[in-house]
Amino acid sequence: MSVRFLASKVTTVAASVALFGGVTAWIAAARGGGQQAPLRDAGGTTDAAAQRAPATIVRKVYVVQRTAPDGSVYFETVAAPAASAQPSAPAAARRAPTTRTRAS
């Protein structure tokens, strides 16, 4: 194997690695696309309806404002309660639900 042949292969591997890193960073930076990976529930089954939607609610969480012992304020996400234990309307209004979605 000549040096020229070997150099071509090394260059190919290096270029592929660089391209892979660059495209990955680019996709991550852009967070592009309106599609998402398969979404599954806790049982591991794919949510077909979620696959069809461009951006789909995976699960609802609540953002709760807390106060630390030192007086500072921070936010914490908590899982939404089960359907049978939905909070009353005033409580729900205080804790506006947000959604977790996968852009792409």
Partner: protein, 243 residues
């Protein structure tokens, strides 16, 4: 016999080691460092998904390059521009390298905590719950490429005709990879992705027609030479000229 195979084995081993090292480096480059901003997209659980998408394009590019160089060997379209032994050697190297890229592309989805693919879904055709036809086609392309690449090394048992017939599957595999990328890829609606698919598809189509026309012209002008060329357009000619 065994001694003759040693260089081939050594080259294959060197390629695998090089690909493994390159994959490790790529992974390290892609993952965030300790000091990375925790809000960075690369720090998110979706990084596996991003790497899978990027590696798919790299694998498709390598497959396209390998196919184009293979067409260049048989049609001699690059004669005068590139050394034919180099074209054949790179074609053979890329056919192995693309296998590693394909395997990386498939297996990088395994640790994705969001997608939750299983090894069966990624390695068994049509077992995936996510776009089963598109993903299944990609798995078939992976196995098909493995068989076609292996045919390089078992040509003496296959014979020239068998090897050539098996190599014709490369066209179907390229088309399958194109359809897999367009239908399974999350970037297919993006203009740049469509340009990549269109450019690669048209390039391979152009060189395929060029090869067909070149063989026909050669057949009309010199049937005996055309028969020899068709029979020896593969690695045997190149190996002979290199030796």
């Amino acid at each position: 016999m065994m001694a003759a195979r040693l260089p081939t084995l050594a080259r294959a081993s060197a390629t695998i080691v090089a690909v493994a090292v390159a994959g490790f480096i790529a992974l390290q480059l892609s993952l965030p460092s300790n000091g990375a901003d925790s809000t960075s997209a690369m720090y998110s659980v979706h990084r596996w998904w991003y790497m899978g998408r990027a590696s798919g394009f790299v694998a498709f590019g390598l497959l396209s390059a390998s196919t184009l160089l293979g067409l260049g060997v048989s049609s001699r379209v690059f004669d005068g521009l590139l050394l034919r032994p180099w074209v054949f050697d790179m074609h053979q190297f890329l056919s192995i390298f693309v296998l590693a890229a394909m395997a990386f592309h498939a297996l990088i989805f395994l640790p994705d905590p969001y997608a939750q693919f299983s090894i069966v879904e990624l390695m068994v055709p049509f077992a995936s719950a996510y776009r089963p036809l598109a993903v299944g086609l990609g798995v078939i392309v992976l196995y098909g490429s493995l068989i076609v690449t292996a045919s390089f090394y078992i040509k003496q048992w296959l014979g020239q005709r068998g090897w050539r017939l098996m190599h014709y599957a490369s066209f179907a595999l390229f088309a399958g990879a194109l359809v897999h990328g367009a239908t399974a890829g999350a970037d297919s609606h993006q203009a740049w992705a469509q340009i990549v698919y269109l450019g690669a598809g048209l390039g391979v189509m152009f060189f395929t027609f060029f090869r067909i026309l070149a063989v026909r012209r050669q057949t009309r002008s010199n049937p005996a030479a055309a028969a020899r060329s068709t029979a020896h357009a593969g690695p045997r000619t190149v190996s002979g000229s290199r030796a």
